[in-house]
């Protein structure tokens, strides 16, 4: 049995999904390589979190996007069950407020027919309001797509990686790939800041940096990525206005659709904007006054009543990897043999991720003629962290009986216990995270995601990180920087030393 060593560059939703699919095979050894301290910190971290039905993809211009979006939507329903990922399937309403918009919306009914997206139809005033009472009464109607869903993208990446590692994938964090080594027209591995990693197949799922990886190999040199920024407004879970369905405006030539959704964690979220940035602005996740004002105005078109602006608990922005002409570049190359591009996977990349992973496998099989053997004991399941939140007091009491740390609540806003934080640290170590960050714990436990945004619990979480890793409190990493700069006397000692010297 021939063994294949596969290196995947990038542990975002795409790289993680590919790793999971490849972990089903006995004779593939997967290295999942990520430059950040943790998984999912790039494109996957900040997006609308919608699992699209597939009726918004033009089958003529984007046949691959259309097919994989629809397949991905179906696969996710299975994956969220197997991997215990927070998800819901409320369906979506593309709301139109003028005859012009209605005309623009009609084409999506046609797309739905061609793409075989089930249940898509137009609903008018009364039915629209019955489906979604929070909608603006001036709305004329909407395109209803009942298969739309929402997931928690960060938790999805984490869950998929946990499952992949359980099934033998090796994760390398804080490992940046700067070269793909080719010998005799075959890839032989990748050069990283931590040394050379051997591989027979290199899969480029590097998100915003996928064009750079592709370029060092020298294939499809026309390809480049333009970052497109999307800003968001997130509200406190206590606001009254929480649409059941996913709502969004009709995309026009000038504007992309703005979504108004209730996240799987119960927060009203409005976004995104769509701003094309210069090619080198790949970390420009800043928010802007203009962007946030635009979102506020657009939300006003969809909603009957806007929540108080004072209840915004966070504003943020993410970048999407926009390829030339919107075309995904998913391709296995025979020259050099062993290289695979999964690049420019802009929206609906999140929706399509599981289908993209299967598609990549097919491509690899046909181009590389892989002889693969399925594992007998592949484990499709992964369980989420057991949480105190949203449980009855009787259930919480039973949890505390099993572990007293469940009885110590560290984050008031989201009711997160010490046990959950300790479990998150354990799981981070288990997948191979080298630096345990406060942010990584936030994404796994929700500690710090409430209205106080961590001002009450950040130090408590940091103290636990310090305790369980041996890193001094001031050196615990929050996101990318340390919590403090030193002990409280650091500067005075410097001054005293200078004074004496």
């Amino acid at each position: 049995m021939h063994r294949y060593r596969v290196a995947i560059v990038g542990a975002g939703i795409i790289g993680a999904s590919i790793a999971r699919i490849l972990s089903m095979y006995e004779n593939i050894d997967v290295s999942l390589i990520e430059k950040e301290p943790d998984v999912g910190w790039g494109v996957s971290k900040a997006n609308t979190a919608v699992i699209h039905p597939g009726h918004e993809e033009d089958p003529k211009s984007y046949p691959l996007r259309a097919r994989l979006c629809k397949e991905g939507n179906e696969l996710w329903r299975e994956w969220v069950r197997e991997l215990d990922i927070p998800a819901k399937w409320p369906g979506e309403l593309m709301v139109f407020t003028s005859d012009e918009e209605e005309k623009a919306a009609e084409k999506y009914i046609e797309f739905a027919k061609v793409n075989k997206v089930p249940g898509v139809r137009v609903v008018y005033r009364e039915e629209l309001r019955a489906l979604e009472p929070t909608v603006n009464p001036d709305a004329l109607g909407a395109v209803y797509a009942p298969t739309a869903g929402m997931i928690s993208p960060m938790e999805a990446v984490i869950a998929i990686v946990e499952n992949a590692v359980e099934n033998g994938v090796k994760l390398f964090t804080e490992t940046e790939v700067f070269n793909v080594r080719v010998s005799a027209n075959r890839v032989i591995g990748v050069d990283t800041n931590r040394g050379f990693i051997e591989a027979d197949v290199v899969i480029n799922a590097a998100g915003l940096y996928a064009d750079k990886i592709s370029n060092v190999v020298g294939v499809d040199t026309w390809f480049f990525i333009k970052p497109r920024r999307g800003e968001y407004l997130l509200f406190d879970e206590d606001v009254d206005i929480k649409p059941t369905r996913i709502l969004h405006t009709v995309p026009t030539l000038v504007t992309k659709g703005v979504y108004v959704v209730t996240t799987v964690h119960g927060n009203l979220m409005i976004g995104p904007t769509a701003e094309d940035l210069p090619v080198d602005a790949r970390e420009a996740t800043l928010t802007t006054r203009e962007g946030l004002e635009y979102l506020w105005r657009e939300a006003g078109k969809i909603l009957k009543v806007l929540p108080p602006r004072s209840r915004v608990i966070r504003t943020f922005a993410g970048l999407r990897p926009e390829p030339p002409n919107g075309q995904w570049l998913i391709k296995a190359y025979d020259s050099p043999w062993g290289f695979v591009n999964v690049a420019g996977t802009r929206s609906p990349g999140l929706t399509a991720a599981p289908a993209i992973a299967l598609h990549v496998l097919e491509q690899m099989r046909s181009v590389f003629d892989l002889r693969l053997v399925k594992k007998e004991k592949w484990n499709p399941f992964r369980k989420d962290i057991v949480r105190v939140r949203n449980r009855s007091i009787e259930e919480i009491d039973r949890l505390v009986e099993t572990n007293p740390d469940y009885g110590e609540i560290l984050c008031y806003c989201r009711m997160v216990s010490k046990a959950e934080v300790v479990e998150a640290i354990k799981r981070m170590k288990a997948i191979g995270v080298k630096t345990i960050t406060v942010d990584g714990i936030k994404f796994r436990t929700y500690a710090g995601m409430g209205k106080c945004q961590g001002s009450f619990c950040r130090w408590r979480v940091a103290l636990l990180v310090s305790k369980y890793t041996g890193v001094p409190l001031e050196s615990v990493v929050v996101k990318r920087g340390s919590y403090g700069v030193g002990d409280v006397k650091l500067l005075l000692r410097g001054r005293a030393a200078k004074g004496q010297g």
Binding site: D487, V488, K489, L492, R493, R495, A496, G499
Partner: protein, 120 residues
């Protein structure tokens, strides 16, 4: 010689605005709402003094630092020296309220304002 100046009294939250006139005849204070204001103004124009407060780290305590304050106010130009005297101090629990932690700095000492018990 005659100087007029305005001060804000810092002795209590009233924060009275004091009008001070300094002349050969002495120091005249107006605007105070209690007698302490006059004292404060005279001190402030001749030799301003302040309390200094800080924390230092403690080993083996239920809280990892103890808070300190000067036992009496020090001249303003001594603040830096008092702080520098704390730069290398690290203590061992327990520490009692009022315990003198650093002696003889700028004519004052630093005393503990928080009790630190031995960690259990």
């Amino acid at each position: 010689m005659h100087t007029e100046l305005e001060l804000t009294c810092i002795l209590c939250p009233m924060s009275c605005t004091l009008k001070v006139s300094i002349s050969d005849a002495g120091i005249d204070v107006r605007g105070n709402q209690c007698a302490k204001g006059v004292e404060y103004a005279k001190q402030e124009v001749t030799n301003p003094v302040r309390h200094v407060m800080t924390v230092v780290r403690v080993r083996g305590g239920d809280i990892p630092t103890v808070s300190l304050i000067t036992s009496k106010p020090v001249p303003k130009n001594c603040i830096e020296r008092v702080m520098e005297a704390t730069a290398y101090v690290e203590l061992e629990a327990p520490i009692e309220l009022g315990q003198v932690v650093i002696k003889d700095v700028c004519g004052t000492s630093l005393v503990a304002t928080r009790r630190v018990r031995k960690a259990t």
